[in-house]
Symmetry: C2
Subunit: 428 residues, 2 copies
């Protein structure tokens, strides 16, 4: 039998999937005995279908894919949580297996969509939703199941990693590098999802759900982005032997789980420190396997298409063999979230202040009041008028105490709140 595939979305990744079909459909049969065929593609315009050489497969209406009895597998690559959700749900309701790269959809409605897939005996595959081309969902759901996963630490947003890498290497400002990333197509016109850490939050919610066998949704993930990071911060980090990365992390503690996204200072000899540009990496620690890392292109047409099409082929293999989906996670562990206030971290904090007698003493008093011990304080750079930038590095302190310190210092006279004080956690 030939497993027939319909594709909804012919943009960057969808176009890449068409390229995979064009390049390797015959190979899949000779190499793996997998007989797949792309039979229809849908988008708002036929431009993508034409550009990738399949104009004859174009349809304007996605219902022509989700309701076509001939189609076995639907690939959803339009993104977002509105039409994409309708496409995915209607496909599943019609008994079609679904492959999606849609992290936002899965991180918000994963439970509902997985239940629908189970109800209709369908495969729902999502390798491409995290880490672009990097195999990470597969290893977590299969190879690493013998472990209790203790933590995941990932650079999972290529846009912000590209920006931070160029800011550090070339001293470019946040604004300039964002404009450059937008021009290159690495960042959206509205960069919010990337620079505010929301895309990374969706991805770590998906990984944490699988790793901890506990449903985690995007809105449960504490997310801080990179808008307030300056070249001065990156220079200070380098002086200290660190680089700054936007990290998505998920940790298991005795009390429960902690899932979050924020910029962090990573020691230069840490494997994640060498992950530059649009590359992504996910560091996974398990009680038996110890430390493992998965590295590759976190975005891009062909890399992400590799992950999507890997899922399509895997499903096709099983459809041909007549095997039904097997149960993966039960999500029955329902671990509580720990209060981030009690987590302990070292911190790098930058304040902009007006230079006035007593300001340092006043700030020191606030640190002391909250029990935050200061490792070093330096004044960096030259500022306009009579302002100065003060950079504190603390010893290990409770997150709650650090935040309270920041809040109280921001209330002091002569401490400027535009820009806001910057807090960057320092990881070991």
């Amino acid at each position: 039998m030939t497993v027939k595939v319909g594709l909804v979305g012919t943009g960057t990744v969808g176009g890449g999937c068409i390229d995979v079909f064009n390049a390797h459909t015959a190979d899949f049969k000779t190499r793996y005995g997998i007989d797949v065929e792309l039979v229809r593609v849908c988008a708002r315009t036929s431009e993508g279908a034409e550009a990738h050489g399949v104009p004859e497969l174009y349809t304007h209406d996605w219902h022509n894919i989700t309701t076509d009895p001939e189609i076995d597998v639907v690939i959803e690559l339009i993104g977002g949580t509105t039409t994409a959700k309708e496409v995915v749900c209607e496909a599943l309701e019609n008994g079609k297996h679904v492959v999606t790269a849609n992290k936002a959809l899965l991180a918000a409605f994963g439970e509902e969509i997985e239940a629908l897939a189970a109800e209709h005996g369908c495969w729902l595959a999502l390798e491409a939703s995290v880490g672009g081309g990097i195999p990470i969902i597969g290893p977590l759901k299969h190879s690493l199941t013998a472990n209790e996963i203790t933590s995941i630490l990932g650079i999972v947003n290529g846009t912000t990693n590209y920006m931070l890498t160029r800011m550090a290497a070339e001293g470019m400002s946040y604004e300039d590098v964002l404009a450059d990333a937008q021009e290159k197509g690495y960042a959206e016109a509205d960069p919010t999802a990337d620079v505010d850490g929301l895309d990374a939050a969706a991805k770590i919610a998906i990984l944490a759900s699988i790793a901890f066998n506990t449903r985690v949704t995007q809105d449960q993930v504490h997310a801080e982005g990179i808008r307030s990071i300056t070249t001065a911060d990156l220079a200070a980090a380098a002086d200290m032997g660190y680089c700054v990365k936007l990290l998505a992390s998920a940790s298991r503690t005795e009390e429960g789980i902690d899932v979050r996204v924020h910029p962090a200072m990573v020691p230069l000899d840490h494997p994640l420190a060498m992950v530059n540009g649009v590359y992504n990496a996910i560091y996974v620690e398990g009680d038996f396997v110890g430390q493992t890392m998965f590295f590759g292109q976190g975005a891009g047409s062909h890399a992400t298409a590799s992950a999507v099409m890997g899922d399509v082929l895997e499903i096709a293999r099983h459809v041909q063999a007549g095997t039904a989906p097997v149960q993966e996670n039960t999500y029955a562990d329902t671990l509580p979230f720990v209060s981030t206030d009690d987590l302990v971290t070292r911190a790098y904090i930058r304040f902009k202040v007006e230079e006035r007698p007593g300001i340092l003493a006043a700030m020191s008093a606030v640190f002391a009041e909250h029990g935050v011990s200061v490792h070093s304080v330096i004044q960096r750079g030259q500022n306009e008028a009579d302002t100065a930038e003060l950079v504190y590095v603390t010893h290990s302190a409770r997150e709650g105490a650090l935040r309270a310190t920041l809040d109280d210092i921001a209330k002091l006279d002569h401490v400027l709140v535009d820009p806001d004080p910057t807090l960057i956690r320092v990881i070991k």
Copy 2:
């Protein structure tokens, strides 16, 4: 139903598998709905069974596992290609699924054993045979199937990587570090399989077979080990901005495939350069995914047990669901091996010579005669009597020309052949 597992071999990895059962059997049921039970373990003595708390499961005779109608899955962890082959074959002939970490067995008899598994409708799983705990077989067989894999470059032998790391970091001699590795249990009393690159050759044969869909056996892999590497070579590499790693590589060219193991100089900014100690990493390049890397502990009790037990759980899932094995590789591509003579590489070559007038000129003439262009030549270190070490770094040259140069120079008067000249390829 409960999927019943028998374990043959209770040494380092086998003991780790018992630990996984002890730690997580209940979790597997609640987390994944997988119901597995370790019902019998076999070894030459009951020591392992006792040490890991399951003396009641011990049997002295492996036939009690391979022929027991109650047992569904057999784990083979005794190593070697004699009794291990009998265990695996008898298990398959009795309809039992097999999980093995035995790279030597698979790299020699993979075709025969896979055919037997297919004939009896059994799963044969081998994640643990390469890279210890690192998920690499799974990603190659599943997540990355949409790609034509163009190359694999791996540090897949933890023993030699540990030795090279310590030699470079501490200036320890080959002999001292080998003795240390043997004492720590990282190296066998007979270290041949590790230090001569045979273990790495078996592993890259397995990876190349999957990646190129072409049967590659260990004896088809050109292997050079690390016996001739000295601390002087490592110091010279560092001066040049490189480190020395024992690399297992498999590349696809227009003419065919090249699969080999040899020490190589790796630039310090290459991701493989940061893989130190007993860690392993496998760098995989595909036509769609681009560059990916998989990193983790390449050996050790618990890390390797993670891979073995991941396979056991995956099989158990399918056995419970009543699904038969699906076809993976057909191995139908049957790509030819390219002649390594025509491959082009830069090289580091060290000769030991007696200091005599004209020796440098004579050596230069041999390089010129074979069309090998020399980038630099330096004399290193202080030697006894009137001998000197000459270190050449060449421009890109054909392997055939490099080997002919080495052979002809070794024939010159005053060039010493004990130790042999050292050739280390320099990778980009």
